[in-house]
Symmetry: C2
Subunit: 493 residues, 2 copies
């Protein structure tokens, strides 16, 4: 009867089912520097400090990740008030809360199953939220229409990006999907490409021209890729992470023309759309430029663009809200996309509600408008100031050169490393800028991400640093960094 | 200069990049009945009713998905109060809220970056939440230890399940990973297996014995699968969805023995662990049974078990909270898992906070305890009553036979369909029970999911119906269903 029992009931001696050898090999290839060894060590050091271990510093300053609230930024009052009412609707009877807060909460709850954000939503996202997103896009893009049917709410922008890459992922060997990404890049891209087993196709941003994008480099990269895979998608991050550049309207037009000509699907990562600081820079959405180029383009070029609650002035990363808009997607593919997202049921409802507030913020005349504008402006001006400050101080350090932080939340300065430190790193099997950042962390408590985590031209070295710490702390950080760099350079010269 | 521009500036005439032909073929194979055509039609009908279209019914009754709040279940007060305070911490000064609510909120906020649930958390999940989960498991399992390092918080159980399947997914052709799943199954499994391109290996539950699991059937299924793939993982849902059975301790022990003998990784989907209604039935976790079987098993068998905020008495689906515990996972694989989850940054913080409250609910003596217990008990007793009611009424209908709903939230009755209806369905290219459910929807407004969406033995027909509607509505539904079945049988006889 017990077919599977051996005579004496003993179990056969077998190893584990799931081991480093038997597991999914693509997963092993995944790399994710933003939360890599540096960050793990930083967490360890924080624990050691708590336990009373003596260090040459008192706290770890994390400038490794674009996580505004963790760096002390306060949430926008209006957003949190509405979210509290959505969460505990008895508060709708509380006089503490302004009428517009109550109205928003009621409106969101009415569009939830059983009037509860505890119900699953439709897989594509709550209807009224998708309508509000479409209205927002239309306003933002000077009236160019947006269809709520083309909006998918997501679990952060990350989720949307991975989902679109998944749809595009196909072929074997020379027909394998190639995904063109900028170098330096946000490592979600390389990680997802590795996980899917697609081919990463690098195009380099031009550091000399403020990290701008050259079409000739796109062309070079595409031609080279066609030798060994099927490059079918071009990813753009604008404003840029980790590089902080803001693309000109002309550049975007050129990219769209290139995509049209070369038959590439465009993915526009626009999560930093409110984070533009430099004079003369402005955010232009790919959608808007596409439609301004006329029907020859706007009826043809396939585009997915991504937004998130995590960045801009709100920095609500923990809620994992986001949306994507798909343009010119084949209707059959769209049906497949809708089916695919339904397997995971739905994005988190609180994140969807928060996304709604972001795209439908208090209007002039509403009771919350003034406070909202004050909070929003204060955050964005402080970021603009810190962008400037970062660039200025870093450029005073011999051996560090930093492009203007035109937008987003990061600087990605180039560092000159002494030959001896490079050799020592290599002897240790470490990337030279990882060696540098690890030493920086151990000696100063400053946590940055080495440029090698984002990709960079062979033989160049960088680090990424967020501009999110409060101004005072940022100044301290920059001055410590300056001091460290000088010491490090001396030590290894 | 514009290498890619043709002489006259015209674009080459190319089709779309992403089409049904060029897209990821695995995605096309994905099927997800719980949100399939029936549900889409139900949404349409609701719109039509709103627009005033006349129907033979006044509302759509959705018994297609385990979404408690959408069916009118009220959230647990304590959970929502704490969540409101976490969301808008100024409420910590409000006398309306009991002290234990405030303490929980403070504790959660203190473990968030910048004391905000708007910060990204560590990728594995908030430290204190993982500790609370481990303590909960230890209490639940009569003291068997649980290590917070083995706990991963997830975006609903769905996310955890897909992540573990991803790790296990490898090989080509005959070495491709085979995933053993029960038939009938919860279609997340078949969908994820299809998406990953793994091999679905079916084992059939025994409908005659109240949907129990026979080891001989596992053995048959495994042997057959070994002819064409590498079955390396066995998935169990207990209490069962869609079948509502609760596994005996003996059965679980047998399954573990089988997995040990055959070297299978075990995935235990235990999201319904509080949903046990039938006398003589009790929930036994795989973890507990594994450890009670002694070190020969407990030091060897690899197990991942899953839980969620979506089910049980709380029904907080929209928050997408969940956790998984991994046991005996190879340390290198665990490192890979931690890296993999870090790519998506973190699960939603509100879902994590809610999971914390579920595993750390009010204790006797705390101000919220009494209300909490009253609400919890009311919900679970009502479910128990509705489980009984559903079985009883369905079994009065000639041509419907329904196993006891021992647990979970569903009945999965077998229906006898007249030959002529089967032929008519087949002529339409529809599964016969899809044909039946679609007619039911059009004529009565009742929305169920056909058995074919979950899998069933060839030639048998079923539907899945949740027991979630309020008792009154459930009675109406069951009586309408009875009437419909009789009419349908007559019409096609
Ligand atoms: C360029 C870019 N895209 C996407 C994301 C993902 O953001 P989220 O998933 O939190 O929305 C980030 C986060 O830092 C980012 O910098
Ligand atoms: C057996 C089973 N597992 C997993 C899930 C997924 O639940 P969630 O992702 O909402 O936690 C469900 C949902 O119905 C289920 O029934």
């Amino acid at each position: 009867e017990w077919l599977y029992m051996s005579e004496n009931g003993a179990l056969p001696r077998l190893g584990k089912v799931l081991t480093a050898d038997t597991m999914n090999a693509n997963v092993k290839k995944v790399d994710y520097a933003v939360r890599g060894p540096i960050v793990q060590r930083a967490v360890q050091i924080e624990k050691e400090l708590k336990e009373g271990v003596k260090k040459p510093f008192e706290e770890v300053i994390k400038a490794n990740i674009g996580d505004a609230h963790a760096m002390g930024q306060r949430p926008i009052t209006f957003f949190r008030q509405v979210m509290a009412l959505c969460t505990y609707p008895l508060l709708l009877d509380d006089n503490k809360f302004p009428e517009d807060v109550k109205n928003r909460a009621r409106r969101i709850l009415q569009s939830c199953g059983g009037n509860s954000i505890g119900a699953y939503t439709t897989s594509q996202g709550i209807d009224c939220v998708r309508h509000d997103v479409a209205n927002y896009i239309q306003r933002r893009d000077g009236g160019i229409p947006s269809d709520p049917d083309n909006i998918y709410l997501t679990t952060g922008a990350s989720d949307g990006i991975v989902t679109i890459l998944k749809l595009l992922n196909t072929g074997e060997g020379r027909t394998r999907t190639g995904v063109m990404i900028s170098i330096p890049q946000y490592p979600l891209y390389s990680a997802s490409i590795a996980e899917l087993g697609a081919v990463q196709v690098n195009y380099y941003l031009n550091e000399e021209k403020c990290w701008s994008l050259d079409i000739s480099e796109l062309q070079r990269s595409l031609q080279a890729a066609r030798e060994h895979c099927n490059p079918s998608v071009l990813c753009i991050i604008n404003p840029g992470n980790p590089t902080g550049q803001v693309q000109s309207r002309q550049c975007i037009e050129d990219v769209i023309q290139f995509a049209a000509k070369e038959n590439l699907f465009l993915m526009a990562d626009e999560v930093y759309q409110d984070n533009v600081y430099a004079e003369g820079c402005e955010f232009h959405s790919f959608k808007k430029v596409l439609f301004e180029m006329g029907p020859e383009y706007s009826s043809k070029v396939e585009l997915a663009s991504f937004h998130s609650t995590s960045k801009c002035y709100m920095g609500e990363c923990g809620f994992r809200g986001g949306y994507m808009e798909v343009i010119n997607m084949d209707p059959e593919v769209k049906a497949q996309l809708t089916k695919l997202v339904s397997v995971r049921l739905c994005p988190p409802a609180p994140g969807q509600a928060l996304m709604d507030l972001v795209v439908n913020s208090p209007q002039p005349g509403e009771p919350s408008h003034q406070t909202f504008m004050k909070e929003r402006t204060a955050i964005l001006s402080a970021l603009a100031e810190k962008a400037k400050l970062t660039e200025q101080i870093l450029n005073t350090v011999p051996g560090i050169s930093c492009n203007p932080v035109q937008g987003a939340m990061y600087s990605f300065p180039r560092i000159t490393l002494p030959e001896r430190s490079i050799n020592e790193a290599k002897a240790k099997g470490q990337a030279p800028d990882m060696f540098y950042c690890m030493k920086l962390l151990e000696e100063t408590g400053i946590c940055l991400v080495p440029g090698s985590g984002f990709g960079q031209r062979e033989g160049t070295y960088h680090f990424r640093m967020t501009i999110l710490p409060p101004t005072d702390k940022l100044k301290t950080l920059l001055n410590k960094l300056k001091e460290f760099h000088q010491k490090f350079t001396q030590q290894y010269s």
